[in-house]
């Protein structure tokens, strides 16, 4: 990757300042939001901050380089198991384990990327889907190591006393947000920089037309592998944070998780980081909103039960039909129109 960035060092610093500001802005906004929230919504916010990192990985992979993965959940599982094993078996600190999870899953992404570089479009989609199905079953197959279905019980622990002394009593939910948020901010910083530098432009060239990208001297295969490594690192970090909500087990990283993440990215806009944030808010809060709306309406239980998944499915279809670029694309479109 360093080779790709070097020639644009100058620009890098300029962009670096903007993305630093935006990342800090995100951090502060989440903290401000959380102060308005009850404990449950604080935990939802932490959930968003966690999943956001995974959705960023899709923004990179699919939005910026055009590779579709239906198996990000499985890569999250790699990060989750990696960090949980480091903590439970080797007694490492949670923080160190999170950082190592990035490397473990990036390494996994390297192998995956080597395979993926040979694949395009539906081949990649299908292969990653099979992977999403197979990886959890590895945890069951090698039960003595991965603890099977029951999984590895891990959590964020309790807030350290120095922090409580500093800012007053901290609930478990708030603590989970505080643990996740720095990582989310760093992930945002990383994604912003990656996408705005020459590396990002290289990726987009590959996305838009492999042949002409190759003609302009871009090493397609290497570019794809690099994207995979970066995206896997992000997904693995998200998976580690997601697992430390309480459990690392196959049922935490089901196939649906991968599809949910993709849905968030698509609804918000595959190519927009703001869209990724929006989409993640939607998928996390939508079930609650539907529950609020239907609380006072008498509807049969069966319909009520399936309403969230139905709504998300319809939302996905509407997005694809009305504006495949998602909410961000629609917003830009509207702004564009107003100008004229």
């Amino acid at each position: 990757m360093s080779k790709g960035i070097k020639p644009v060092r100058l620009k890098y610093t300029v962009i670096g300042r903007r993305s630093t500001l935006l990342s800090i802005a995100l951090f502060i906004l989440f903290i401000l939001l959380s102060n308005q929230f009850d404990a449950y919504n604080q935990s939802q916010l932490a959930n968003i901050a966690t999943l956001l990192i995974a959705v960023f990985s899709i923004t990179l992979l699919t939005g910026a380089s055009g590779q579709i993965s239906l198996g990000q959940g499985a890569i999250m599982a790699v990060g989750g198991y990696g960090s949980a094993l480091l903590v439970t078996r080797l007694g490492l600190s949670m923080w160190l384990a999170f950082i190592l999870a990035i490397f473990i899953s990036a390494l996994f992404g390297l192998f995956l990327g080597l395979a993926a570089a040979r694949l395009s479009g539906p081949y990649l989609a299908g292969t990653t889907l099979v992977m999403a199905l197979a990886i959890p079953s590895i945890a069951v197959r090698f039960e003595s190591f991965f603890s099977g279905d029951v999984g590895l019980s891990v959590d964020y622990g309790v807030p350290p006393t120095w922090l409580s002394n500093l800012v007053g009593e901290i609930s478990i939910e708030q603590w989970s947000l505080y643990v996740v948020l720095p990582f989310t901010a760093i992930a945002l910083f990383a994604v912003l920089n990656l996408s705005n530098t020459r590396t990002g432009r290289t990726w987009r060239a590959v996305r838009d037309n492999e042949v002409s990208a190759a003609l302009s001297g871009i090493n397609i295969a290497r570019t794809k592998v690099i994207v995979f490594v970066c995206a896997s690192g992000l997904a693995g970090l998200a998976g580690a944070l997601y697992g430390f909500r309480g459990l690392v087990a196959p049922s935490v990283y089901p196939t649906d998780l991968s599809l949910t993440l993709l849905t968030a990215a698509v609804i918000g806009g595959l190519r927009s980081i703001g869209g990724a944030i929006f989409g993640t808010f939607v998928i996390v809060f939508l079930p609650d909103i539907i529950e609020k709306i239907t609380a006072n309406i008498e509807i049969p239980e069966t319909i009520g039960n399936y309403l969230p998944s139905l709504t998300i499915g319809i939302l996905l279809l509407l997005t694809v039909i009305l504006n495949p670029r998602g909410a961000a694309g629609a917003l830009e479109h509207a702004r564009h129109r107003r100008k004229h």
Binding site: D38, Q44, E143, G246, L247, L257, I273
Partner: protein, 446 residues
């Protein structure tokens, strides 16, 4: 992927507005959450949709029906019992989220009857850390109950898989010592717990010879035939099934197709719901009489009366309440083991809440269950194990055989309840006598 400030601001602003609208911060009164002068709020997590939901999605409606009945009789010390149910689709990620919602937004007093080992394991630590009672978990995983120091607030709602397998295993090993015994299990925590229980009873199985398995949730769609074919080829005469009821039905049908007729089937109670068995085979075109004949002679174990035992007082009472109070429609209301289990734990919960008295707190409830829990009664013929040293529920099972009318009848015409623990303890005969249900079907506490 360009990020303009207005966009991120729009996103955050709309998120702010949206989430303010849905957050409801209510000041909690003194005392534990979820208890007021007029209400006790309980929370339940179970798969209401998704691959693991069939059958289990009836448990919540049954429990609610019983609570509604209690409420119609004036509730518990004037408090109505409200059951808030969350669908976790059997995915632990959602279980964690919905547990937080039950705790922080629905302000539940206690968790009640949560279904599923794989999902409950994701929240049990947190629930216990918050000292919230975790009543009558619908999981037979002994790891939740046998170490109250680890999980002081969790109490079982089923007999453990290990206890059941030990009792069933001992019987089969003695009765059929001259026969080849094999097992078909689903390869998940449930199946493997059962395997461990049988091993404790001295029944060991050999892969590809006497042990066959399938991936849980696939219901054999990837080739159950080959697995059962292997049991057949190896001359297994007694087949134990440790799988959910819908898979049991498929297993019987598959064996039938292969002309494989073991001398005896033995099915772990989780997988031996006659209604599910017959419904599934019925839809496969097997007439009721035929599926009844297929099930007849099958050995199973139970802690409670058979759902089909129309003579049992508890069954009669619960069935009536199900008819009158269950708001579910269609298949969700059809009387079966799942509904009886839901009613029975609701009966237990009502009893425990009555037992604690008017001044209800979480700590008092837990201490009541530890000190008096073993004296609680229910439809079960087996005693409850609750004590300071274990939080296992029903410590015993009786063994029976399905008759031609799909009712599980005690072996040799006499109901003998065996009891043991989830460890290495011996299997003994229990002399527990089940107290009768009162005429008003409400539990009575001394």
């Amino acid at each position: 992927m360009n990020l303009r400030k207005p966009l991120i601001l729009t996103v955050v602003a709309s998120a702010l507005v949206g989430s303010l609208a849905i957050s409801s911060v209510s000041a909690s009164a003194a005392g534990d959450p979820g208890v007021s002068a007029s209400e006790i709020v309980l929370g339940m997590q179970l798969p209401q949709t998704g691959a693991a939901s069939p059958g289990y999605n009836k448990v919540d409606d049954a429990a609610r029906a019983y609570f509604d009945y209690v409420n119609s009789k004036g509730g518990v010390y004037g408090r109505n019992i409200k059951l808030v149910v969350k669908d976790d689709t059997y995915k632990a990620g959602l279980t964690i989220t919905s547990a937080s919602k039950l705790i922080n937004e629905d302000k539940i007093f206690a968790f009640f009857g949560s279904v599923g080992t794989q999902t409950h394991v994701s929240v049990i630590k947190d629930i216990n850390r918050r000292k919230i009672p975790d009543l009558f978990v619908n999981s037979g995983y002994s790891g939740f109950y046998t170490d109250p120091k680890k999980y002081p607030t969790s109490f079982g709602g089923l007999g453990t898989y290990t206890v059941e397998a030990k009792i069933l295993g001992k019987y089969l090993k003695e009765k059929y010592s001259d026969k080849k015994i094999g097992i078909l299990y689903q390869s998940d925590d449930f199946g493997r717990n059962a395997l461990a229980g049988f091993a404790a009873a001295g029944l060991k199985f050999e892969a590809k010879k006497t042990a066959a398995s399938f991936v849980a949730g696939t219901q054999g769609s990837l080739g159950l035939g080959t697995q059962i074919g292997q049991l057949k080829a190896n001359g297994v005469e007694i087949v134990i099934i440790a799988a959910v009821s819908s898979a049991t039905a498929v297993a019987y049908a598959t064996a039938g197709a292969l002309a494989y007729k073991p001398a005896k089937w033995a099915v772990i109670s989780v997988g031996a719901d006659a209604t599910t068995f017959q419904t599934i085979l019925g839809a496969k075109g097997v007439p009721l009489a035929t599926s009844a004949a297929m099930l007849a002679g099958t050995i199973s174990a139970s802690h409670a009366p058979a759902a089909g035992d129309a003579e049992d007082d508890f069954v009669k009472a619960f069935k009536k309440i199900n008819d009158d109070f269950n708001k579910a429609t269609g298949a969700g209301k059809v009387w079966d083991n799942n509904i009886m289990q839901g009613m029975n734990i609701a009966y237990l919960a009502t009893q425990a809440l009555m037992g604690v008295g008017k001044d209800l707190t979480r700590a008092k409830l837990i201490s009541y269950l530890e000190n008096n829990g073993s004296k609680l009664s229910s439809a079960a013929f087996a005693p409850l194990g609750y004590s300071k040293s274990t939080h296992e529920a029903f410590t015993g099972f009786w063994l029976g055989e399905y008759d031609a009318a799909t009712v599980l009848k005690p072996l040799d015409g006499k109901r003998v309840v065996y009891t043991t623990d989830s460890g290495t303890g011996a299997v003994t005969v229990s002399n527990y006598k089940r107290p009768a249900i009162a005429a008003d079907a409400l539990p009575k506490v001394a």
